[in-house]
Symmetry: D2
């Protein structure tokens, strides 16, 4: 049974845009290896794939793993030694639902649906259990709601320096809060951890981002407010209205773009996300504050 | 699509026993509080609840949260200030499926079902990503299969001291591997982490345990082998044949017996798990090595 | 050779007061044990011991270990099984040298004496190497000098909660910066770490503190400014003018009051530090900001 | 007063050899910077500098900081923007005192000199306080003495992989014990931490190492046994008889070869340590087990 029945007080505004996204991954495979790829865009009511393709050179059969409840699409393939090129591309209709963020309240703990509760738990890279006093000291006095999550993201943006190479695959939100530097996944982990410590369910989203420079895969977060999920990007590197979801998880551990078993060298990663309507104001890099409901 | 089609080469032996389990939790509530309880036994093909009751004194209405895919049954209730007594009891038919552990192989990475893959990911208390070299140095040379997980559990048992109070709610598997002491949840976290680092999906189980002394809630683990889950208990404090599952999760963060929002003091916790057939050899404390398939 | 030759621009004001300090430590010794005690007050130009006594009951011979360059007085004794009572008391003339803190500049790195440089290094509980960006982000823009160390102490006071029991003997400054709670030693570790990260030599001082409530041993810090050491106490629990030094070290690891080898239970710790002139304004708990040069 | 009076039961064998050591450090200085260099060999009864030179190009005056009680020789210089070349070279008479390691006992805690006690304390990179159970579980049953330290070094050698780049300047012994990989400084930190946890004073030594391949600065450790310090090198990359001491400290934090304030890029580091008598058996890479008393 779902406890959450409140209707948002304003109707969301829906707008549509089409984005072309994709990636080209070039590897040198040294020993027979298994690849798990999670770079295909997710299908849901907010984004519809019009067309997509996945090319493997030289050709290898791929197996699509079962799509779990989060909609992550994982593909598995065996690669023999030699060069391996993986090219994914898709055209995606993005239906953004924007709402007036002033109307978005926090869901009360008492009414959180059962399947949302686990997004309050700490996870590998988001040790929210260590941060109750920190989060409540910094944000506990703020009015609950969308604006409090914005305050968390603003704090994260203001206190961290975006420094490529400053973190690695074992760096956690707590590490980043001390060293005060990181990249997109670290910004997301910090914001997620602080939200959870405040009692706001939060999770990690991997994706493509329009107008991200330099182009790359992107990591951001969403918070559960008022009965639905809203996107936030504490890096301010790309407009939330142009984020195309690939995977959803508790943190980055759940949505690696490529997981590889075997001896493999990565030669090149190319990523793109192009707006078909470059004049779309929603996708302006300056527009970082609109409430975008995502799920 | 499920990749795993191999049939175990021996048919499991099924035996049934009935266990009476339960707990009595007494609190003093200082401010209006919300309780999430996860102490009711899970329902699945291996354990059937014949009868159960949950009493709240003074009476409070309880809400059963949606049961997720893992079968965890979470109950939510509001408690006003004052004394609060919670008493849960159940009679459970336990259908243990035991197999000859020599026949149980590891599932190959190539064939792991998609919904199992996330149990290879590191989690809050099981930082398997830091332990690849450790796990492979200690266990990499062993024959893959049930016996390798047994070796992991034996190592855990032999290198840790069971010391109540030596760990707290933020202690992780890595902490325990250094300090070499912990309690049941820590033993489980260490074994889970080492399994994941070896490429064996593993997860945490909370439950009741027959013949556990002193009686308490118990935490143990299961590993995914040969297309199914098998129970292991690195503490050797109770026979796996007498473990009654409450909750299943990535680690202890997912299956707290009670999560409380509000000012509450815990006065007393009583837990019981009684075998109706005390002569059952399967439930002898000495029988810690039988392969018990659990899900 | 000493690089520092600058004379402080104002002469310090010297005032004297006499403090009676001491402690009573009661143990139950279960097996033959060795005690290292570091509870006797240090002798230096700022504090002179007029009289002191150390009583061990039942009598045990004590060995005074060599006094190192920091002036820590360590006493070693063997204790047979049974009750053990240790009572130390001393009357100390405290010559406080107060200066106008506005005149106190930071020593430039270029001119720091060689024997001071090691107090810029990170230590067990003060991981300053992890905090460069943190410290410089918070305090880098402030005018160097006494007031910047005061700002560090104010930040520490304002962001931490004083919570007895919230930390243990392995808790570090980084742990405390995340959990935002600690006791006196943790406050000192945080302030020391931030100072070192800013390039200000800082170290730990253990001692007796007049007007500390409840009475206990105390831990505070000193920073090297303008060619001398100044005392600071980020807890604001006692006036720096009433701090009587026992030990000096890189952090609390160096100045444990008692280090014990053997099976020993601690029954009771009593500590006192009484001002002979209760009207002394310098020792008012409100007077926490006067610059007190200590060494 | 020194508690230690026991005479080693065998006289040490003294042999002398001359080693030519040195380094060439090339930097590009981007902003006016201060360098602290600790690359000159230490002077003590075991090693005598016959000749040495330090060249700075372009010429800058250098200041020799006060030599502390440990004999570390630190030089400070200001560097203007531009290229900076530092070249140090020395000829050192190495008087190795080798003893029969079977005769070397552990000093009892009761008799450790006061100035040695601090080498039992945990330090930034050697968290011995977390490892009591670990160390005693692995080595507690062994006969105390030189051979127990050898067992610690053997364990370190056998359980770690020497992997350049696997650690960084914030990596501690505990990190390395988990990730099971490191470089020379990490091997030393692990061995030091385990020794301290066993009650054996241990410290870090930086130096030049004959027959190290590829040539580089080296980090190793020494343990206090039987009233004196003995050298150990858990990496087995160079014979202890050919180690030339530069600096001594609690851990690597105390003896960085170069500490730099300012924006500086390192272009090239060259290090050499050449034996003048290549036939010297003592300096054979195979000879890693002789007891060499160092201080």
């Amino acid at each position: 049974m779902r406890g959450e029945t409140r209707t948002p007080s304003t109707s969301p505004r829906i707008s549509m845009t089409t984005i072309h996204v994709g990636c080209q991954l070039n590897y040198v495979v040294h020993s027979p290896s298994i690849f798990l790829l999670n770079c295909a865009v997710s299908q849901n009511s907010h984004q519809r794939v019009r067309a997509e393709s996945l090319e493997i050179l030289p050709f290898q059969p791929v197996e699509e793993c079962e799509v779990g409840p989060l909609g992550n699409r994982v593909v598995r393939l065996n690669a023999p030694p030699g060069e391996l090129q993986i090219r994914y591309s898709a055209s995606v209709d993005l239906n953004s639902e924007t709402v007036d963020s002033n109307d978005v309240l926090e869901s009360s703990y008492e009414h959180l649906p059962g399947d949302i509760l686990s997004y309050l738990n700490p996870s590998r890279y988001c040790e929210s259990d260590k941060l109750y006093r920190f989060a409540n000291g910094e944000f506990g006095h703020l009015v609950p709601g969308y604006s409090r999550v914005t305050a968390v993201c603003n704090w994260t943006f203001e206190h961290l320096a975006y420094v490529p190479g400053s973190t690695n695959s074992s760096t956690t939100a707590c590490d980043v809060l001390l060293q005060r530097a990181g990249v997109c996944r670290d910004y997301a982990h910090v914001a997620i951890s602080l939200c959870r410590a405040l009692g706001i369910p939060a999770r990690y989203v991997s994706g493509y981002a329009v107008n991200l420079y330099p182009p790359d895969f992107h990591g951001f977060m969403e918070a559960y407010l008022d009965g639905r999920w809203f996107l936030f990007d504490a890096t301010r590197l790309a407009p939330v209205g142009g984020l195309v979801r690939i995977g959803t998880g508790r943190d980055a551990a759940d949505v690696a773009f490529a997981t590889i078993r075997g001896e493999v060298g990565c030669k090149e990663v190319g990523v793109w996300a192009n707006d078909t309507n470059p004049m779309d104001q929603r996708l302006s890099p300056d527009n970082v504050q609109t409430g975008v409901s995502s799920a």
